[in-house]
Symmetry: C2
Subunit: 383 residues, 2 copies
């Protein structure tokens, strides 16, 4: 299958592109590389030294004999997007190509506008390109579990059946996202749903949880294929960030009580979920929503796990409950469904001590690259 991975230079996108290429798909990456530029502007670097995309791809070809195509440009530029898609002729498009950090979107007005404009317009362009040229192409779009917020009822996968005043309907699940970034994903979901309804597009919206881990079979093949691993207050996510903090002897930055519960998954499951979604496409006109996570944890639980694992490695790990820079409930009900991907065949890599060990060792290996300036969160929701 010909698969275009938009955002294929990023954390999930890179791992996915290699995995799909390694599993028999013909893959091309489309990426504006702007994420590297944002890193530079924020004066942060990934823990791991990631090679420029052209060297990554060359090494991949040398190692495996497989070519991955490359289109460098911005999907907000429709002419570029159209030209690239007409050239590659994708049967599936996996869309990771969005600004993906909640704190980034909350820095100030400019970053909020950048995030919503970039994500919503890019995705809208993609819908038009598929509609106009590849009406049968399956769109696999990365959403986020954060679209749901923390309602006081069970979170279903995309839709909920509501009985009300003696009548009944199945409607889109109500959304209460927690940042301008999360809002952009909610906007995308509504736009995609509409495009499926009126144009008969086929789309899968993967509401992904927080991804952890860094190694996949493919990115571990060679130092030049190494994946990015963010630890800073803007792009670093809970478990990855904690492991790196533990490695350098920095107290773990738990926001507030840490009672915030979220869905999590191993990056090795991310790539497999994409493969499963591609293998069984949504039907013509279907807006299929899958919740993509394997386990729920509170942030405090994760911190304790890292503390435990660190002890075994001889690390003294402190936990620091910082004033929460976000506006979010710290104690709340959270019970989200995630059976649809299991039904499609996902066999989860559940979080294990050995995974945390391996992450910690990985972090220790690169700890000299850590800039302590960027550990603490600086972006405040109420600024």
């Amino acid at each position: 299958m010909k698969v275009l991975v938009i955002g294929g230079d990023g954390y999930c996108g890179w791992a996915t592109a290699l995995y799909l290429a390694n599993h028999g798909h013909e893959v091309a990456i489309l990426d504006s590389l702007v994420r590297r530029h944002w890193d530079a502007q924020l004066c942060v670097e990934t823990l791991t030294p990631i090679a420029p995309i052209q060297y990554r791809l060359r090494r991949w070809r040398d190692l495996t004999g497989k070519d991955i195509g490359l289109y460098v440009g911005d999907i907000c530029n429709y002419e570029f997007l159209e030209r690239s898609m007409l050239d590659f002729q994708p049967q599936s498009v996996v869309h990771f190509g969005e600004q993906r950090s909640a704190p980034f979107s909350m820095i100030d007005r400019e970053h909020a506008v950048l995030t919503q404009q970039n994500n919503v317009i890019g995705n809208l362009n993609l819908l038009y390109a598929i509609h106009e040229h590849f009406p049968d192409c399956h769109l696999v779009k990365l959403g986020t579990m954060g679209e749901y917020g923390t309602p006081n009822i069970d979170i279903e996968e995309g839709y909920i059946t509501i009985e009300h005043n003696g009548r009944k309907d199945t409607l889109p699940y109500p959304k209460q996202p927690g940042s301008y970034y999360h809002l952009s994903k909610v906007h995308d979901s509504h736009n995609i749903h509409f495009a499926c309804r009126i144009w008969g597009l086929r789309a899968t919206d993967l509401n992904q949880g927080v991804v952890y881990g860094v190694l996949t079979e493919e990115t571990g093949m060679d130092e030049l294929l190494i994946n990015r691993l963010d630890y800073d207050g803007v792009f670093g996510t809970a478990l990855n960030r904690f492991c790196i903090q533990a490695a350098i002897g920095h107290p773990l930055t738990v926001y507030g009580t840490g009672g915030q519960t979220r869905g999590f998954l191993d990056i090795r499951d991310t790539v497999r979920c994409i493969e499963l979604a591609i293998a069984e496409p949504a039907k013509q006109g279907e807006f299929r929503v899958l919740n993509q996570f394997t386990e729920q944890f509170s942030v405090a639980e994760l911190a304790l796990k890292v503390q435990e694992a660190g002890k075994d490695l001889g690390l003294k790990v402190e936990i620091n409950n910082l004033e929460n820079p976000r506006v979010e409930l710290e104690e709340h009900y959270f019970n989200a469904k995630n059976t649809k991907l299991l039904d499609l065949g996902l066999q989860p890599h559940y979080l294990s001590d050995s995974l945390i060990d391996s992450l910690l060792n990985f972090a220790i290996k690169y700890k000299d690259r850590v800039d302590q300036e960027h550990i603490l969160p600086k972006v405040k929701w109420r600024a």
Copy 2:
């Protein structure tokens, strides 16, 4: 009260600005005037000859002795928005300043992108301007009943209490909008809700139905104050459009069976609803949603009413059930709540034969200005 009316040169905005000025408020209009430019680009004109904004405002001052301020510019330009608001120091902002036509947004990709970018980013800028400079200012935002779509259960005002698997929560009402325009309003609603939650803004989202009528006490004072009245396939809405079609002997353009049921209101109620919303602001942090319509009709019912009224005036009115250019249900359940504005004191002008008569006579007066080229709908949802 100092009220800034964004989009005050438009159909609802103009009537509202004059009404509020006439009822003791200190009013300024902020408008980019781009709607006049879009008319020009689409080669359409309003039925009524509307004067340039500066002559409108001058005549208003000459007639009433009341000054209405004017800020000409685009709210997508934050510096302009900020400067204007700092100059005027509003206590309420009424935000009509968005691209408001569903067919316009469905013309092609460029118009879809223009609509979502213009509406979402403009509104986002406004949220930031209020947050940064006027945290106590009440935002009165025009949404649309079209955000809800046509669910098979009763439509509540913004929120719905859901019982699910033995638990209960009150959540944002699920949205199923029917065009890229309607989607832009859904995006706005989510963004505003979030801003209220994190920043404590006070906002009222008025989910307005289809507005009909043209005369208000103020716009009827003088020919130079006349309001716009759109009849073309892009900007014309159901009842207004039908009256003008009847006046020129064109068959009424009912899309499909005409079983589509919507909420409607008289423009004299629009202006009163805004006044009521301003008089009793949302609380700090509250995202208040009011459904702003007074009656439900199917499109076919409206066509029959116009046919009847036309007969009494000696007009022979035919009804033409065109192939529906939109993708929408033509037979569906529709029962929307609208008690909150009644509770605030709204006394509706229900649709009457005399209103239709007056609209028909108005249309007859200006019928020589009608361009028959633009009566039929040209924009198709599935194009």
